[in-house]
Every structure is written in C-alpha cells, then in structure tokens.
C-alpha cells in the first residue's frame, strides 16, 4: 500500500470506529431509557429484544475490531470439526432463495464459529456491493476445499479490489449505501488464516467481484 493511502486509512480508521460504534451505543442507551417509562407489556418485550440485539451487535463489532487488529484471543477457539461448506453457505443466506445458487460438494475441517463468520462476511459483502444472483462453486482439490463466490455488479476500481482485505478500506459504492467499518473481508481473511486456509478476491470479468475461500479438507 502506498504511504499516502496508509495515512488516509489510519485517519479513516479512528473516524469510522467512532461513528460505527455510536449507532449501537446510542441505540442501547435510548432503549434502556424508554424501557424505564414504557408500560405496555408487548412494547416492553419488543424494546427488550431490541436492547439485547444491539448489545450483541456492539459485542460483535468489538470482536471484529480485535480480530482485524490481529488479536487472536478474539478468534473462535475450540476444536476443528467437519463442516459441510455448501450447507454452511446455504444456512447463512437470509435473502431471496433465487438470489443464491450453490453448487458442488466439500467438507472442510475448521471451527464452526470461524466458518459461519467467514461465510456471513463474504455473503454480506457481496450482497451489499453487487447484484444478484450470487453463485458459489465448491470443490475439493488435494487436501483443500475451495469455494468461489461469483458476485456480479458494477466494475470496481482497481484499488477497491487491491485493498479489499485491508481493514477500514471501503469501496466507493459502500460509502453512501450503508454504514460499516470496512472490516468484514479483512476479518474473514484473518479467520480463514486462523483455520489454516486463506481468502482472497479478484475483479470479476464484466464487473463485480470473485471471492475465493480455501480451507483444509476433511
């Protein structure tokens, strides 16, 4: 990365962290305060559920920040286990059924928590920045399971592809479309490495992004 880009990213990191933490923190505070006044039992249940959701979101953001910073204690621990990768991808998808096509087979050996976070981050990135349908091809080669996510979309700037796994880098489209830290793919990359695999991206011919995930096979 060029020095001026590095400096820009460092300045941006503090700015983005402050802003991104602000929404769940202020939401938690607001929900806690209105809960002290709200009398309607049904509404109280809704507010309590929202409070828990936002506290969890805050905790997740902090975990991701620590993981992006290379703090390994923030990464999932425990034993690796066989994980059916196509099943994990289908389970993580909460969008339209027709918008995701998964083909092929492959069982990885990894911590389930890592695989779920990787898959969620990769799908979220593809959904947020590109179009549909998303297609995922899973295959096995030697002792590795490979998944390739093909997400069509507008042509991406070269630096958006080159720096996609740099924490706090966000593509031009993302900046006005939705909030976000810009650490989804970097954290997914850290998790893939934690499991003995790797994650990388390439520009998709015709526009969009190809995301490659490689994990140890069962």
């Amino acid at each position: 990365m060029e020095p001026q880009d590095r400096e820009w990213l460092e300045q941006r990191a503090l700015n983005v962290i402050g802003h991104e933490l602000r929404t769940p923190v202020s939401t938690v505070r607001g929900l806690a305060e209105v809960l002290t006044r709200e009398q309607d039992p049904h509404r109280r249940d809704e507010l309590t559920a929202a409070l828990v959701r936002n506290a969890r979101r805050l905790e997740g953001l902090l975990d991701d920040l620590l993981a992006a910073a290379g703090v390994t204690t923030a990464l999932p621990s425990g034993e690796a286990e066989p994980v059916d990768l196509p099943d994990a991808i289908r389970s993580a998808w909460d969008g339209d059924r027709d918008a995701l096509v998964v083909s092929g087979t492959g069982v990885a050996v990894a911590r389930r928590g890592s695989v779920d976070r990787i898959v969620n981050a990769v799908l979220d990135n593809a959904r947020g920045y590109g179009g549909t349908p998303l297609t995922v091809s899973v295959s096995r080669a030697d002792r590795r399971v490979n998944a390739v996510l093909d997400s069509p979309g507008p042509e991406l700037a070269a630096e958006d592809v080159r720096y996609a796994l740099e924490p706090f880098w966000r593509g031009e489209r993302a900046v006005t479309a939705r909030p976000g830290l810009g650490i989804g793919l970097p954290v997914a990359g850290a998790l893939a490495a934690h499991e003995g695999g790797r994650l990388w991206v390439e520009a998709r011919p015709g526009g969009g992004l190809l995301t490659f995930l490689e994990l140890p096979a069962a």
Binding site: T23, L31, A50, T176
Partner: protein
C-alpha cells in the same frame, strides 16, 4: 402543524430497531406525533407525498435510495416539509452536503432532545423562511 404545536413526523431509517426507538422516544417527547415509518428513501418519498407530515427524520446511509437522494427528491416534490438528517456518520462530506441542501444534521444519540429541537427548527424555517 396539525394542532397547536404538535409536529407530525415521518421517520426514515433502514434499521427497524432505530425506527421503533424513535417512534417511542418521540411519543414521550412532548409535541410530536410519528405518523409514518419508512425503511429507505424510496418508501420515504412515497409516504411523505401521501401523508404530508410537518417534518421528516432522515437517515443518510441506506441501501436502495439513500438519504442524500431522498432529501433532494423531497425538496423538489414536497418543499413545505421540514427535513432533519439523522445519522451515525457526520464527517465533513456529510456536513458539506447537508449545508448545501440547507438541512440540519443531528448525530444519532440516545437522547432524543437534540433531534426534537432540530425538528422544531426545521418546521419553523418552513413557516418563516428568513434566516434563524
């Protein structure tokens, strides 16, 4: 305004929890009535054209039609409606863009007070367009 000083408000935010929170917070803040909730800029424009509220609370970063574009549309189609940008992101770019549109920015907060005051100012500006 609908009654003496009740401000009829449409809330626009892509996060359901924030829509719910503002609905409840503005209920407890005196003088506001939330008449509609929208999840993106496109829904917001439809709802505002239909309901003609006094003011709109507009999130900026949303998928689909974002708040920047929705504000431009509303200012053309419903110029009598006050708008307050309510965002978790309020850096230089946001400030400059909202200044250019004459829209006040309020940073998202657990305290609804600053938002309520900004809503009243936005409504007052549309009743008396001279500078504050």
């Amino acid at each position: 305004m609908s009654t003496d000083s009740t401000v009829r408000v449409v809330v626009v935010d892509d996060e359901p929890d924030i829509r719910m929170l503002l609905d409840v917070q503005l209920k407890y803040a005196q003088g506001f009535e939330v008449v509609g909730l929208a999840a993106d800029g496109g829904q917001a424009v439809e709802l505002v054209e239909k309901l003609r509220p006094d003011a709109v609370v507009m999130d900026l970063l949303m998928p689909g039609v974002n708040g920047f574009d929705a504000i431009s549309m509303l200012q053309q189609q419903c110029p009598e409606v006050g708008i307050v940008a309510y965002s978790g992101v309020a850096g230089d770019f946001v400030r400059e863009e909202m200044d250019r549109r004459g829209v006040e920015v309020v940073l998202k907060s657990g305290d609804v007070g600053p938002l309520g005051r900004a809503l009243r100012r936005s409504v007052a500006r549309h009743h008396d367009p001279s500078p504050d």
